[in-house]
């Protein structure tokens, strides 16, 4: 069973925007989409490491701010002809709070 850590309120992220959670293993981008779904991905584009959290969010995808790769928020997979995948992490919303997979703490601090 997954343990969860409460990281923030859903309303701390505007709709169609991303924000960052710092972990010892690097930054995680948390996205809130137009329909209030929340996704967590490594904040590094698989192409050249661009900060995905700063990209334009459209539908359930984000366009990397550096070179416009479009990353699917569910799979982390680059869309279209591009290749590469950003790691995704378990995240959910409960009672207006964003909960992130607590294993991110342990796994990353051990690494």
């Amino acid at each position: 069973m997954t343990d969860w850590i409460d990281i923030a309120a859903l309303d701390d992220i505007p709709p169609r925007a991303g924000r960052v959670v710092r972990t010892t293993g690097g930054c995680i981008a948390i996205f809130r989409t137009h329909d209030d779904r929340v996704f967590a991905l490594d904040d590094r584009c698989p192409h050249k490491g661009g900060p995905l959290s700063e990209g334009i969010v459209h539908g359930h995808a984000v366009t990397c701010p550096l070179h416009n790769l479009v990353i699917d928020l569910h799979s982390g997979q680059a869309q279209g002809a591009d290749e590469g995948r950003a790691a995704t992490h378990a995240v959910r919303v409960e009672g207006g709070r964003i909960l992130l997979d607590a294993r991110l703490l342990q796994a990353r601090s051990a690494a």
Binding site: I5, I7, A8, D12, I13, P14, P15, R16, A17, R19, V20, V21, R22, T23, T24, C27, I30, T33, H34, D35, D36, R37, K48, G49, G50, P51, E54, G55, I56, V57, H58, G59, H60, T63, P65, L66, N68, V70, D72, H74, S75, G95, I98, L100, L104, L105, Q106, R108, S109
Partner: protein, 813 residues
């Protein structure tokens, strides 16, 4: 022996359960029914029509005194239940105890009273029961009475529409970005808002209620932006809360609602719960269909049958007369899901289906819900729609029927109107085509069809295709992105002609094929809207590229460059010292002098941006907009002040120009230069606007380039005063702002429209020039401001700039 059944709550769920129980197990239970309201069960979902005056209370009563008598139900209406004593198995009411063998809790839910000052003033009501409706109707009787409805969800909008129908002036304050965000997407919500506004209801989204004001009773609602909304009545419709107090006090398991299993039994085997107060598999239901399902299951269990409740698919309709809206299932376009979007701008229709594995999993319809039952049936049964995928959105009519749009156009009579703006019929277009107009542009020139708002361009093309047959080579769809077939010009024309003032409005009226656009069209629409409606449109940061959202240039390693403005390339020791101090304080690794005569601090960490701006602001430095599709720099030489060849005050003019133009958003970046003599040390002849000073005055050149292409400026005009230069420049830039495509540099735009066309408006027509300057100034009254100063305000920082959370510290423990 009959067993004793006590029911707490005389609402729709328990009413339905009693009906079912009396059929399945007549006489087996000795029933006592508690109800907080002074009367029995009525059809609560008809409160909206009751409020609107479309029905009467007698018509919505479902169980009257005769019914209860005939079914031997002991009624304890208007009596509060104070507690449940589980050890003794009694319910304690205000007028005495009642013992039970089985207890059913059906206490429903209550309106959430948002925690603001004044929420308990007289005149503040929820919208849950008959008493609320009576209070509202009493207020609505006063001529000119005003109501504020807090909450733009299902309930709030029904109340708003009903009060509006009763003649009240109604304002809806909705916390979220669009109405009914749980059931609708932005496109459907746009149509709904438009309809409500057309009825005279004011709708304000992103409205945070701060307090309800009034002496002795509610008089006004104050929102966070400082606006005061007068109100004789305040309706709280910001959500409902399951009424669980009795269950909590009795020690039953309660999460959001009273937790029940598949048999609707609570954590106490002798107590059941159903209706809006119950939580099953983590879900609390608020719609009548699942609540009736619960009622039947509960009755069957009480009658000794084994019955289970299973989570049903639910659908939503808004009970507002003449608003057709249907929402069901999961509307997220998730992984493996695809959207089919259909829009008919002319009829105000929007339909979206979400498909997963060839099955319908979500339905949203606005404006035309005639096929909703057909779609909902397919959603519930989960049948494959693979074979009808292409025509699915057309509903049952799409199956095999004539869906060829060309056939429909061919069948139109000659007097059928194609272009509503200009009143052009099909026959006139066909005549023009027969006379030689063989493409859209030619038809537009010959007939004016599609020349105004452009909404009928597709239809005109279909007439071309039908008339010319194979001879017509349809133009490639020249849409600005994959979301639309419309080009930049057509979109701008539509925004202007139809007065569209939001991104969802454009997407609906222009028939976007996606529900929320993409990274290409959203920044373009955001620009077009702010350029067209500077005073009304609110900039959408989430439709901006990172640099414009963060007011700094992102670098390849994710750091930023910071460039303060140096007006006309002039600086002072104090400014240089402030820049040097900031560079040291924030460990700026690289300082570079730019080609635009200013200083670039490269490698600034994102989190340091507000602080470095604040420091630079303190020294009087503002954003240089080095990141913007907007005015960048005005380069100058030192001119007549120092140079022995200088003819005019080129630095002074450069600074004046920069002070007028800064902060303006443009389709692409704009760079200027002013050279003090024809030797042109400021390199003015490769700028978007370049001014060369001469002994006779000023030569204003435009449309130069020194990027991917190299191009000299072309002379717009020779003038004699600085004010002439400023007027021409402002007018030229405004013309560019109003007419160029997003991301089209001025030199490309001028090449496209022709310098003569530009000169006719900017130079030759004084009235047109004056109007352009006035529109530019209107826009600048909003945008001539330093974004750094705003972002560096302490209030902005935690909201936007800090990480959402920092887990590195916790991990170290």
């Amino acid at each position: 022996m009959t067993e004793r059944l006590v029911i707490v709550g005389a609402g729709m769920a328990s009413g339905r359960m009693l009906e079912e129980l009396s059929e399945r197990a007549p006489g087996e239970w000795d029933v006592t029914l508690f109800g907080a309201e002074p009367h029995g069960n009525y059809n609560r979902i008809m409160l909206s029509p009751l409020l609107a005056g479309e029905t009467t209370f007698d018509e919505i009563v479902t169980h009257d005194a005769d019914w209860y008598r005939a079914h031997a139900v002991t009624c304890r209406f208007g009596e509060t239940v104070t507690r449940i004593d589980r050890a003794r198995k009694v319910v304690v009411g205000a007028r005495g105890e009642v013992p039970y063998d089985k207890l059913v809790i059906a206490t429903g839910s209550a309106s959430v009273r948002i925690p603001v000052q004044g929420n308990d003033l007289p005149g503040v009501v929820g919208f849950r029961d008959l008493a609320d409706v009576e209070t509202m109707l009493a207020t609505a009787q006063h001529p000119g009475a005003r109501a504020v409805v807090i909450g733009g969800g299902l309930l709030g909008l029904e109340a708003a529409a009903a009060l509006n129908a009763r003649g009240m002036k109604v304002t809806v304050l909705h916390l979220m970005g669009h109405l009914m965000e749980r059931q609708l997407d932005a496109s459907a919500a746009y149509l709904l808002q438009k309809e409500l506004e057309a009825r005279g209801i004011r709708v304000l989204c992103n409205a945070h209620t701060q307090a309800i004001l009034g002496e002795g009773r509610a008089e006004a609602v104050l929102t966070e932006d400082g606006a005061l909304h007068p109100a004789d009545l305040v309706v709280m419709a910001a959500g409902i809360r399951p009424e669980t107090r009795l269950a909590v006090d009795a020690g039953l398991r309660v999460e959001r609602g009273i937790v029940v299993d598949d048999h609707l039994t609570t954590s106490d085997p002798d107590i059941l719960a159903l209706g809006e107060c119950a939580e099953h598999s983590g879900v609390v239901y608020g719609l009548v269909a699942p609540l009736y399902d619960m009622a039947v299951v509960a009755a069957r269990n009480l009658a000794g049958e084994a019955a289970s409740f299973a989570a049903p698919e639910v659908s939503t309709r808004l009970k507002v007369s003449a608003v057709d809206l249907f929402s069901a299932g999961d509307l997220e376009a998730g992984e493996g899901a695809e959207e089919i979007v259909f829009r008919d701008p002319a009829r105000g229709v929007y339909k979206k289906l979400v498909l997963r594995n060839d099955r319908i999993t979500g339905i949203l319809m606005y404006g035309d819900v005639s096929d909703s039952a057909w779609f909902f049936d397919r959603l519930k049964t989960g049948q494959s729609i693979a074979e009808m995928r292409d025509v699915l959105i057309l509903g049952p009519a799409g199956r095999g029927a004539g869906i060829d749009p060309l056939a429909a156009v061919a069948a139109m009579p000659d007097d059928a109107e194609i272009c509503g703006c200009n009143g052009i019929c099909k026959g006139q277009i066909v005549a023009a085509i027969r006379a030689g107009a063989n493409d859209l542009a030619a038809v537009r020139a010959a007939t004016r069809a599609s020349a105004s708002c452009g909404g009928c361009s597709g239809l005109v093309e279909q007439v071309l295709a039908v008339t010319l047959g194979d001879a017509y080579a349809a133009a490639e769809p020249a849409g600005i992105c994959g979301c639309t077939n419309l080009g930049h010009d057509e979109i701008r024309r539509l925004i202007r002609a139809r007065e569209l003032k939001s991104i969802p409005a454009v997407m609906q009226e222009a028939g976007w094929t996606t529900s929320c656009g993409c990274a290409t069209c959203r920044p373009a629409l955001n620009y077009y809207l702010l350029a067209e409606w500077p005073l009304e449109y609110r900039d959408d940061p989430q439709s901006r590229f990172v640099n414009e959202r963060n007011h700094a240039n992102i670098q390849k390693d994710g750091t930023y460059s910071v460039v303060p403005r140096m007006w006309g390339g002039i600086t002072t020791p104090a400014e240089l010292r402030a820049i040097a101090d900031a560079a040291e304080k924030y460990d700026v690794p690289t300082i570079h002098v730019t080609g635009g005569q200013r200083i670039d601090l490269l490698g600034v960490k994102r989190d340091d941006l507000p602080a470095i701006w604040s420091d630079l602001n303190a020294a009087g430095l503002v954003s240089g907009h080095a990141y913007a599709k907007g005015l960048r720099t005005v380069k100058t030489c030192v001119g007549a002040n120092f140079c022995r060849f200088g003819t005019q005050d080129s630095t002074g003019l450069g600074i004046r120009l920069e002070k007028i133009l800064w902060g303006a958003w443009t389709p692409h970046k704009v760079k200027l230069a002013v050279s003090g003599c024809p030797r042109n040390c400021a390199e003015a002849t490769c700028k978007d606007v370049g001014i060369i000073c001469t002994d006779a005055g000023y030569e204003v050149g435009v449309a130069g380039a020194a990027g991917l292409e190299l191009k000299q400026t072309e002379l717009l005009a020779k003038v004699t005063t600085e004010q002439d230069v400023i007027d021409l420049t402002a007018a030229f830039i405004q013309l560019y702002r109003e007419n160029a495509a997003y991301l089209e540099r001025p030199y490309k735009w001028v090449a496209r429209v022709g310098l003569d066309w530009v000169r006719a408006r900017v130079v030759e027509d004084a009235a047109a020039r004056k109007a352009l300057i006035e529109r530019f100034e209107t826009s600048q009254s909003v945008y001539r401001a330093d974004p750094w100063a705003r972002q560096a305000q302490p209030g902005m920082q935690p909201v936007k700039w800090a990480p959402l959370a920092d887990l590195t510290l916790e991990a170290a423990e």
